[in-house]
Symmetry: C2
Subunit: 309 residues, 2 copies
């Protein structure tokens, strides 16, 4: 029989510094509530699934967290405060505008032994840095890191519960690529699997869907957006509708692996909006996340106003 | 029946820009040969193994490439030129001395709108940057990136073959954590595996050992160092000796997952040296890679002088 979400959370260990992180999250939410800001939890990047308890090998997925990082920037632009729950080595908001990945290639030593950004990059970095420092100074962005599936799910619950007091002002934007499968601790070998044993057979169990307790118990009043990524076009919309029907949350963003950077579908119980970049948009460097967030902010405002009536 | 290395290389696609990268490698080797430098190929980081052909999921391993990145620095210090064959998102030499991972946290805007390194980090970064720029200017380091298992193996062959003209002046330091298992293309599902199918059963085949053709055919005269990482202490030395016996190369560095940052064994056909950091070393920030490289350089010099007699 499949594990329930309760059992899963009870049976997996809490991540390092869980209490410290939980406290930070609660304080951040309280600060935003006092400032009457909308708050969004953006989850980002893939989760790892260990195959051995002294972990050498794990299952992972392709996500580097572009969707989450970009969306965070656009939510901030629209005035939302963001809890950015991200894979430890995932892409970060703002950082992506920095033109070189190796910091050392960005810097130069002046005659007076100062270390400065090279003149050719200075204008670009100055811009990003100004925005980044503003966000930091105003305390609008809290970054929380995870690596494994179980760390992610424990922290997702902590963030969700912390957002409960925000009621319908809270948005959950669940862009992380969460593993569907895992190996329960009691079925995991302790040591590194030996290749001398011949071909490897793995049997992975289904991860319980946390969207269920999230919508029903943890943040029942919040505006919840989940994602559906497929590679098969024919399954896309039907799977999105199934999810809405099953979990009764507000929105599914449906997207295909190959075209996800230029088109998506915003699916609600009643509507299906096709959101895409035009050729001119692409040429001008516009990003699909800007359109997604614009669309969601509208849906969220409507959601708040209907509820307030 | 298990695949042979020939079939594996024939049946997997070459990585992006393979010809361009191969050309760069050959030019780099030729440059070092003209300068009469020893050259080491350092492989670093883990390889990924796709589970679907339009890849959403893959197998990976814990390695972030610390061993390779640190060793590269110490080889450079000892006068070797280095081809650094690294996982795309792996740790880089020198970069690890930069105190913040987010560049934006390192920088400050001056009153005159210059972008400078914050004063508290300037001294540290100045040092690293000087070394880094020297290495770059003298063309002593070539970085080649891979992600998947097959990219790695294709590039490993290209580097090895390029090093053939260097004879015994070439060292291969194979620190990358290469997957033992993979799913052959013809057994791979095209689309994302559906969780609605219930528990997931995976069957992975053994990856052919490339150390065999590498030692016998690609670089028969080079000094070859392979690695053995285990979690079970009782298997460690016997597995290292088995490898030496099987592949007939010069050295296996044997290490345990949990203690790998403070002790290793340098295993040859005739000798087993225990190399470890003392408590005082650890306190002083000494790194095990410095001791490993010192030990290997000695072995390599001996190897060259014996062959030259």
């Amino acid at each position: 029989m499949a594990t329930t979400w309760k059992d899963f959370l009870d049976q997996t260990e809490k991540p390092d510094k869980f209490d410290e992180k939980s406290k930070e999250i609660i304080e951040f939410v309280n600060f935003q509530l006092r400032s009457k800001r909308h708050i969004v939890l953006v989850t980002s990047g893939g989760t790892t699934v260990p195959l051995e308890s002294k972990t050498v090998r794990f299952l992972d997925n392709f996500s580097v967290g572009s969707r989450g990082a970009l969306s965070t920037e656009y939510f901030l632009k629209r005035g939302y405060a963001v809890i950015f729950l991200t894979r430890n080595r995932g892409l970060r908001p703002f950082l992506r505008h920095v033109p070189k990945t190796n910091i050392l290639d960005l810097l130069t030593i002046t005659d007076s032994k100062d270390v400065k950004v090279k003149p050719e990059y200075e204008q670009k970095i100055l811009q990003v840095l100004q925005t980044y420092q503003e966000i930091k100074n105003e305390n609008l962005l809290l970054t929380v890191e995870f690596q494994t599936l179980s760390d992610y799910l424990q922290l997702l619950k902590a963030c969700s519960v912390a957002l409960q007091p925000a009621g319908n002002q809270a948005v959950l934007y669940l862009a992380a690529a969460v593993s569907d499968f895992y190996i329960p601790k009691d079925l995991m070998p302790e040591h590194k699997i030996q290749s001398s044993g011949g071909p490897l057979k793995l049997s992975l169990q289904l991860v319980p869907k946390m969207l269920e307790p999230l919508v029903k118990e943890w943040v029942p009043d919040a505006f919840v957006v989940s994602f559906k990524l497929e590679t098969d076009k024919d399954l896309l919309i039907s799977k999105a509708l199934q999810a809405i029907d099953k979990y009764q949350h507000q929105i599914v963003i449906a997207n295909l692996l190959e075209t996800r950077k230029k088109e998506i579908f915003v699916v609600t119980k009643e509507t299906q909006d096709h959101v895409s970049l035009s050729d001119a948009d692409i040429k001008n460097g516009k990003e699909i996340e800007e359109l997604i967030i614009d669309c969601l902010v509208e849906h969220h405002h409507q959601f708040c106003s209907v509820e307030n009536v």
